[in-house]
């Protein structure tokens, strides 16, 4: 088996991490002391990432919003027990990922999520019909993947996480994550058939 799934898609750069982690630690300490503005700051800093993860997993704006809110509230509820404040971002991501997986598994959302109306929702590519087709087809294919494979693709490709980060997000060993990614790629290629040429970055 090819477990050579590598870890640095060139089109996405991870943001400056150490500084973010330090800032998180400071904000969390303030939040623990009851500083309401610190909660605001924490939400602002992380909501985009959590919402994107949820949206890409669930393909439904309201579901994504619900999961994002639930993830933050769970995290805030457990904030006093968080030992490593610098790991807040990955901890929050894992909470959100678990919530997404639970939703996908419990409500059999897979069928509704492949609804063409939701998938064709064009957003940022609306001005370019060909790239809209590609995005739509790829979305439809991703939505057909089993939840854990979907998480691997979303984490690695759409979010630009490394395999180590993806594994942490999914709560599995790195090798398991790589295997899922490998199988997900195979499935995607089968689902997409002749993969359309995407726009050159």
């Amino acid at each position: 088996m090819n477990a050579e799934a590598t870890c640095a898609p060139s089109w996405l750069m991870m943001t400056g991490r150490a500084e973010d982690h330090r800032a998180d630690a400071v904000a969390i300490q303030r939040a623990r002391n009851g500083d309401r503005s610190a909660f605001d700051e924490i939400v602002r800093r992380h909501q985009g990432r959590v919402y994107n993860l949820a949206y890409r997993m669930l393909r439904h704006p309201q579901d994504a919003e619900d999961v994002t809110q639930e993830a933050f509230l769970k995290a805030f509820g457990a904030l006093p027990r968080l030992k490593n404040e610098r790991a807040f971002a990955s901890w929050l991501g894992r909470i959100a990922a678990n919530l997404c997986l639970m939703r996908l598994r419990s409500a059999q959302r897979a069928e509704t999520l492949t609804d063409p109306a939701v998938i064709a929702e064009g957003s940022a590519c609306a001005g370019n019909p060909s790239s809209l087709d590609i995005v739509g087809e790829t979305r439809a294919a991703i939505a057909k993947l089993p939840p854990k494979y979907r998480l691997a693709v979303v984490a690695f490709y759409l979010e630009g996480r490394s395999c180590r980060e993806g594994a942490r997000l999914a709560g599995v060993p790195v090798l398991t994550f790589k295997t899922r990614l490998y199988r997900a790629r195979k499935l995607l290629r089968d689902l997409l058939g002749e993969v359309p040429e995407g726009p050159t970055p």
Binding site: W11, R32, V43, L73, P80, V135, T138, Y157
Partner: protein, 146 residues
């Protein structure tokens, strides 16, 4: 380089994760081998298709909604951990005190015996006092933290 080995390295090549020397060797193979070249192109196309996914913006009201929900659920009180810990401890203390009291009552053979002072032995009296004091402390502790 053999095709089988090349195929295993195609995804790393797409991801730009190989050393230049190895990448060059692979590219040389790809220029000569049509089958591997097709495989590489398919992987690259999938990569591009996935990369075309746009980023979505969360609704502008989201921050306020989350923060107000956190406030409504009392998640923003300072040091919410301390009262919870104390509460857990005091509940344990209360349970212990009640247990001690029950044992003491059992030891002296029931409440009716404790009413008649002449029939209660020294051990029984001490047990009742200890149990009563523990129960009082337990309730007091619980009362301050609840």
């Amino acid at each position: 380089m053999r095709c089988r080995r090349v195929r295993q390295k195609l995804q790393p090549l797409v991801d730009g994760a190989l050393a230049e020397k190895e990448a060059a060797a692979l590219r040389q193979h790809l220029s000569a081998c049509a089958a591997c070249g097709l495989e590489f192109e398919a992987l690259r196309a999938l990569d591009r298709a996935l990369a075309a996914e746009p980023t979505v913006q969360p609704p502008p009201t989201m921050t306020a909604a989350i923060v107000s929900q956190a406030a409504a659920r009392s998640l923003m009180a300072p040091a919410t951990l301390i009262p919870r810990r104390l509460e857990a401890l005091s509940l344990a203390g209360l349970a212990l005190a009640l247990a001690a009291f029950a044992v003491a009552v059992f030891a002296v053979g029931g409440i009716s015996i404790t009413i008649g002072p002449l029939t209660v032995g020294t051990t029984g009296v001490i047990a009742v006092i200890v149990a009563a004091v523990s129960a009082a402390f337990g309730s007091l502790y619980y009362g301050t933290c609840a």
